[in-house]
């Protein structure tokens, strides 16, 4: 067992380096106190409880307790047929329901072997990228409010509302869309939607820059986030981080590029990683920067899609949807890049039933949050807020 321990130590650093980490020397340490943060706390972004062992202002260790929002998604999925699961998937990550539906549809379609019409792929990518911007706007806005900046929050929610009304126009719902179905989408875009979306892209471009100016160049914001919550790349990979969190640690990893699902290989976009000019790679500010840069990339993707979209003549968005969805026997792990990272679905089908035998959701926030205990060691209590905010959790997805 000793040898095993040595091997483990050799390839993975147990504690990430961080200059801002405070280690209390033996003589200076005072009495330990247990401090509960949450479950009802504005900066935990939902119902998460952190049990912090503190020494004065310094957190020795914070242990997350979850499950307050557990709604048995996986048990429900075993009792529901494949199309019926989509609304449940919506309710997992309620800030990015389109992306979650997309990941689920990809997973089931792998088992079904159906050809997706080309226009459907464009519709999916456009709504998913719109939703990604909306989700990042919430992430950035609430992160700012966690750190005491109120104005960016209002700006973010003002612009998000435009996206919400666009998506409501095409799907009928404001947040929980049930729009991307297995094999197709629920409706084609309404008339005038393409023009309005193009208008939004033009409107939002300068706003995104303005938001960057407000936050990224704001000295107070930078002081609160730079060098806080450092996560080196190798430890981040070992923790299974994905999405903006992993890219914030400098790893160029984006499933849209790596897996190349849907029409993403045809599109020209950049995988955003911080270059180290504005932030220390791997800190909270890097993760924020990745989100900010990704919004602009999403705008580029939407613009390209709007230009190249096949014409709607004779198009039926539900043409490829099978009458009765009964996948062949087998297992699949399908995944997609969500605003918060890799959302994967492990689905097991017995080939006879219209319900999955097992449907496991690999939630991105759940995995990202699992590093919290290590990130929190030796941080100040106010920095703990900065770290949780930078993880950008949605408790609906953590607890499922």
């Amino acid at each position: 067992m000793q040898e095993l321990g040595k091997v483990e130590q050799a390839s993975v650093r147990v504690t990430p380096d961080g200059e801002n980490r405070i280690v209390i020397e033996k003589d200076l340490s005072s009495e330990e106190m247990i401090l509960n943060m949450g479950p009802q706390h504005p900066s935990t972004h939902g119902v998460l409880r952190l049990e912090c062992r503190t020494d004065g202002e310094v957190v020795i260790e914070a242990e997350p307790y979850l499950g307050y929002l557990h709604r048995c998604f996986e048990k429900h999925a075993e009792m529901t047929d494949y199309p019926g699961i989509v609304p449940y998937v919506d309710r997992m990550d309620y800030l990015a329901a389109m992306n979650s539906d997309f990941a689920y549809a990809i997973a089931v379609e792998k088992l079904l072997d159906i050809e997706i019409p080309r226009r459907v792929e464009f519709l999916r990518v456009i709504v998913a990228e719109l939703n990604r911007i909306a989700s990042h706007l919430v992430a950035i806005g609430t992160y700012a409010i966690d750190l005491g900046a109120f104005t960016p929050f209002l700006f973010c929610f003002r612009d998000r509302e435009h996206i919400m009304s666009l998506l409501e126009w095409t799907s009928g719902a404001r947040m929980l869309y049930n729009y991307i179905l297995i094999g197709g989408v629920a409706y084609d875009f309404p008339r005038g939607f393409v023009e309005r979306t193009a208008e939004f892209v033009n409107y939002f471009r300068p706003k995104a820059v303005e938001l960057q100016k407000l936050l990224t160049e704001n000295e107070i914001f930078v002081k609160r986030t730079r060098g806080i919550g450092m996560m080196p790349a190798d430890v981040a990979i070992n923790y299974g981080w994905s999405g903006p969190m992993l890219r914030g640690s400098g790893v160029e990893w984006d499933l849209r590029r790596v897996d190349g699902y849907s029409i993403y290989p045809e599109l020209d976009f950049r995988v955003c990683v911080p270059d180290g000019r504005f932030s220390d790679i791997g800190d909270s500010l890097s993760r924020h920067l990745v989100r900010a840069m990704e919004m602009e990339e999403s705008l580029n993707i939407i613009e390209q899609c709007l230009d190249r979209m096949p014409s709607p003549e004779g198009f039926d968005p539900r043409a490829a949807i099978p009458k009765r969805i009964r996948p062949r026997e087998g297992e699949v792990y399908g995944r997609a890049e969500n605003p918060r990272g890799e959302l994967g679905f492990y689905i097991q089908s017995d080939g006879k039933s219209t319900k999955p035998v097992r449907c496991k959701a690999r939630s991105s926030c759940f995995v990202n949050l699992s590093a919290m205990k290590e990130l929190s060691q030796g941080q100040l209590i106010p920095d703990l807020v900065a770290i949780i905010g930078s993880i950008d959790i949605v408790l609906g997805e953590v607890d499922r």
Partner: protein, 167 residues
């Protein structure tokens, strides 16, 4: 035609089976998720370490670990989706099974830290324990919850602290 995923999985499997022989089952070459099973579960930790540290494999990323119930075999199991992130680009799934009652699987939470919470979740939902895990507690359900919800024969408890459970 063989899909590229299967071709890559074949390479991976041949490296592992060369080292571990009959401790791993033949590769299941399905195009959606090629996998092999660890037939001697006590070697799972060694296989995991080998898969992570061998320069030919470098499975540094665990994408997912799902617990599964196999009632007709009388077994519980886990399915691990592993990936060699940024190095070889291999993906493969590994299955490990254990007995339904009192089953134990070696924990890989010290090989991939992400497995820590995933294994806690599998324990919470299915009831197999992971030997060598630092912190084997329930994670999503309350600590005093009875039974393991995702087992196929799960019967929900009548009352929980005086609250009626089935609705």
């Amino acid at each position: 035609m063989i899909s590229p995923a299967v071709e890559k999985a074949r390479v991976v499997w041949s490296v592992i089976s060369e080292k571990f022989g009959d401790a791993v089952s033949p590769l299941d070459e399905n195009p959606t998720m090629p996998f092999f099973e660890v037939t001697r579960p006590e070697l799972w930790l060694d296989i995991a370490l080998f898969m992570r540290d061998n320069p030919k494999l470098r499975f540094n990323y665990m994408a997912c670990l799902s617990g599964v119930d196999y009632p007709e075999e009388g077994k519980l199991g886990i399915v691990c989706n592993l990936e060699s992130l940024g190095e070889h680009g291999y993906t493969i799934a590994v299955k490990v099974k254990c007995d339904r009652e009192g089953g134990v699987i070696p924990s890989v939470s010290r090989v991939w830290k992400t497995a820590d919470w995933h294994e806690r979740e599998a324990y919470d939902m299915f009831g197999m324990t992971f030997s060598g895990h630092q912190d084997m507690r329930r994670i999503l359900c309350p600590e005093d919850w009875e039974g393991f919800p995702l087992r196929k024969d799960y019967q929900v408890q009548e009352n929980y602290h005086g609250i009626k459970v089935p609705y």
